[in-house]
Symmetry: C2
């Protein structure tokens, strides 16, 4: 048993869907959520830059004595998971492998769809993860970047669940409509006869009911957020690192950007008030990684060997 927190980070607010699933699976665990909103989005950035951010934020989380780090961001997982696993003493879990694993287990016809940002889909990380687990499963991928716009626009408007806005015909929420966009995005996947669809972007759980309706019955929707939470729970249980029973945990939210804006929008993703959001300066972050960790950036392929 330990009262150390779980550290979770993302380029922005999307990873709060992962934090929420972790809090649901592990209600007694203290959490620190770090949203690097000052540098969001990571997608268009150089891979090496993202890897450096991963080292910075991981080092900051280690300074807060976390027992485990979750990279709740598909771009940062694809770019920096292996590096972070080599850099830090605590286990590091990404969002890609858990979703891939669930899809492999769930599919009956061995045809799996994945949707995500352009960067995530182009990285091929989900397809690779699925193939490693099961060489007989075929992955059909489709980048669906406008779903991110819909979620972000939805968070800025209204106050209820983002999905409720999709049915609101009294105002022009987004053009073309969610349904037109989904037809373009999802029809090819339906034609490929996938029976499972991985939501490979942390924003997408906020649209999961609508996406499920658009895919039709018979297609299992797999949330990487939910699957990552399962993986975190299993890891902590196996390491006997659960918080004490009945523990009332502190959940801290930290941002590099505007704390007030983070609180306002983040509370909508968290589906409850976040409370006071803390700020961390980028200058502080960039000073954190030890020189031996920075050196890893130049030798990403080097693995530790037995003396």
């Amino acid at each position: 048993m330990t009262k150390q927190p779980i550290g979770i980070f993302d380029s922005g607010l999307g990873g709060i869907t992962v934090a929420r699933e972790i809090a649901r699976a592990l209600p007694e665990e203290p959490l620190i959520y770090f949203g690097d909103t000052a540098r969001c989005p990571y997608g268009p950035r150089d891979l090496d830059e993202v890897r450096r951010f991963v080292l910075e934020i991981g080092s900051w989380l280690e300074s807060q004595d976390v027992k485990l780090i979750v990279i709740a961001c598909n771009t940062a997982t694809a770019a920096g998971l292996a590096l972070a696993q080599q850099a830090f003493e605590v286990p590091v879990i990404g969002v890609i492998e858990p979703g891939a694993r669930a899809a492999v287990m769930a599919t009956r016809n061995r045809r799996v769809g994945v949707i995500g940002t352009v960067g995530t889909i182009e990285s091929g990380a989900y397809a690779k993860a699925v193939r490693t687990l099961d060489a007989g499963v075929t992955v059909f991928s489709c980048a669906t970047p406008r779903y991110v716009d819909i979620v972000e626009e939805g968070l800025r408007r209204g106050s209820g669940p983002v999905e409720d806005l999709l049915a609101d015909t009294t105002e022009v929420f987004i053009r073309p409509s969610f349904y037109e966009i989904s037809r373009d995005y999802l029809d090819p996947l339906r034609r490929c006869d996938v029976d499972s669809l991985v939501l490979g972007c942390t924003h997408f759980p906020l649209l999961s009911t609508a996406i499920s309706q658009a895919m039709g019955t018979g297609v299992r929707i797999i949330s990487s957020a939910e699957e990552t939470a399962r993986e975190v729970a299993e890891t902590i249980a196996r390491r006997a690192q659960r918080a004490p029973e009945g523990y009332a945990p502190v959940r801290r939210f930290v941002t590099t950007g505007d704390a007030h804006e983070f609180e306002r929008l983040g509370s909508r993703v968290w589906q409850a008030p976040l409370g006071t959001v803390e700020s961390v300066e980028l200058a502080e972050l960039s000073s954190l990684p030890r020189p031996d960790l920075i050196a890893l950036l130049d030798s990403p392929g080097v693995e530790p060997t037995c003396a």
Copy 2:
């Protein structure tokens, strides 16, 4: 729900340790265990020959309408898991990834040991599986072939658990003794300070208490058999393919070798009478794989693509 059986196969008797864990985790599931004792052991054979055996036995199990296939053999998993996943309609689970995954989750100092046959260790399959899951975990491997001899000699003698023989000083069970052999095998792993040890051979669960004592307290022993059973249980649950509640399942045992000998020794691994053991002729087996499956042997790297 489905009353279809789970198919499990191995080159011989060792995989019965996996079947036993599956029966423990899923007591209502019908099982078919196939031991290819006529061609045992697989270790010294050419990889392509083993891959052909995997296609033959998998085809036979498919003809018995199994809902899932478990390759309960480290050699056959390393050689033929990906091929079998491409060849068969049902999910195929091997013994290597589940053990590697458990080790990654359990280790606190990120130093994991693996023991197995010469072939399994030299294949590097566990080290590769661990590294894929967590690039920061170092694997220290050691081939421990004499443990297989000890189990097989132990099964031929006595009637209780194999481990009981290790403490019997009234007769020369094996020379040098288990403790001397273990010192040679395990001292290097202890010096490498591993905190988790994967039993990477299906025979080894029959020695797990003795191996644990030899490694000393503080080292977690991870049974690939037990972890594979967890993976099977999770897969069947996610696919809603559990047998009906309260179902009294049939468990069939099948061999290509001497059925009487299989029953006698297999009952000791199963720790209960196997009942009547069925025989399958090698000639029947070799006629089973469809030509398109045989063609896969020549193009192992080819993956299905989206039309």
